[in-house]
Symmetry: C2
Subunit: 251 residues, 2 copies
DNA sequence: AAGATTGATTCCACGATGCGAAATACCGCA
DNA sequence: TGCGGTATTTCGCATCGTGGAATCAATCTT
């Protein structure tokens, strides 16, 4: 083994390679064989086989009749716990955002075709917003939804929107597919999204991604009454939100 | 190293140990320190630290300010793909169940407080059932819901039911918490659940878990009109369903 | 149906790699 | 500022993982 400099110090080779395999399988559309994976990762076939076997015993990969491998159910179990962990660690950050903005802060994820709020710290103001934890909302009329969709491959997004449509919730809701895709491109570009009373009249909301581009796992948002929570109020906030989003995504 | 017999041949030690750590973190309520994990897994502190570092670089674990570790967001990314993979591999099994029973077969998971149907192969009969893919249904009035809740810790189940309540959907829906918990105990005991027109009048449904007790990730069900799909019709079916459920859970 | 081709699995000897014990650095606390 | 408890780093050694080649199985070809 010669490439001594190519790996960060302290990394465990076999673990690192096994994770490569898992992520390759996650990226793949369908099941993959040992040979293909060997090709994709640059590992020897024997090595790939041995690592996959280790993962298979633990349920992290599944092997079908044709000896093709795909992701197993063990990662679903981890994800469940990871989800709870994310919600828990997000709370202090949400509280910090409330402190800075005076408005309600939320954490949301994409579940199927809906956006679901999984965490919230409400504003201290007596006049505060909607959207309790557990609430399902459409992706196309919310800032969090835009952030989450913007990170998906375009074809998956269009498929989703074809299923759900873009029903108007308020007069400002974007109802045209092309216009919405343009909006998403902009969101992707600048790294944050805004909802200008598109989901609920009188409510404005800004959102940022949690996690790096291409693997956004959640969205962080702050929302308040449009008159109080106007553009100039959010200007300074967004940079902080983005920092927190990154931190949460890969702490 | 002496315990040469204790590990299945072909397993990769460091990978195996890293997975132990991940699962320990998944099991844990809150963040855990290196020392605690060393204790829990029986590994030397140095080893735990090195493996955690490898997992941390890849985002599978998160390290907080107090040097405590918890699960990171990387597994959430895997889960998305694992979910699709589960749905895809389940299809032929669902088809097999339709062939055997003549009725509609479903795959469902727990998402937040709802049961969501994620896969279906409809019965060839012209008279077939409700519940298209994507449909959210309450856990307490469905066989799949019972199966999924039965595998959760009781305190989490009661917390969930306190949030959702047990609204009656039909005259036979179980609406009493104590009665429902008894029902769940029975489901856990015998390994399958039935819905006697509790969700929809005239519809009977049986369900089994996907995955081993304690890590059920989904539920498999067959449902049909109560008069046609009666108890004697399901008797033989359930064993097959259980076999398929296990197979799907850890293929 | 037999051979050919592709791909998965097993084997094995080498040496890089991951191991653990102990030393060191760090942090919270008084 | 010093103390107790953790986390982290170090380091020499043995182990464990590695890759390439050989074997085995399955799928195409003609």
């Amino acid at each position: 083994m010669v490439e001594s400099m190519s790996r960060p110090a302290g990394a465990v080779q076999s673990l690192d390679r096994a994770l490569d395999l898992l992520e390759e399988l996650a990226r793949a559309e369908g099941p993959r064989g040992v040979g293909e994976l060997s090709e994709l990762t640059g590992l020897a076939q024997g090595t790939v086989h041995r690592l996959l076997q280790g993962l298979h015993v633990r349920g992290y990969v599944r092997r079908d009749a044709a000896r093709k491998y795909s992701l197993g159910t063990a990662s679903l179990r981890l994800a469940d716990a990871a989800h709870r962990s994310l919600v828990r660690t997000a709370r202090p950050y949400l509280a910090e955002l409330v402190r800075l903005s005076g408005e309600t802060a939320n954490l949301a994820v994409l579940e199927g075709d809906d956006v679901v709020y999984v965490g919230q710290v409400p504003s201290p103001h007596t006049l505060r917003m909607f959207a309790e934890v557990g609430r399902h909302v459409p992706p196309h009329s919310t800032a969090v939804g835009k952030v989450l969709l913007a990170d998906q491959p375009v074809d998956r997004t269009t498929a989703l929107l074809r299923r759900t449509g873009l029903p108007p919730r308020t007069p400002t809701t974007i109802t045209d597919l092309a216009a919405f895709l343009t909006e998403l491109a902009q969101v992707r570009e600048r790294g944050w999204a805004v909802d200008e009373q598109e989901q609920e009249t009188g409510v404005r909301c800004v959102a940022v991604p949690v996690g790096p581009p291409g693997s956004v796992v959640a969205a962080l948002s702050v929302s308040g009454p449009a008159d109080r929570f106007a553009e100039e109020a959010t200007d300074g906030l967004i940079a902080t939100m983005q920092r927190i989003g990154q931190e949460l995504g890969a702490g």
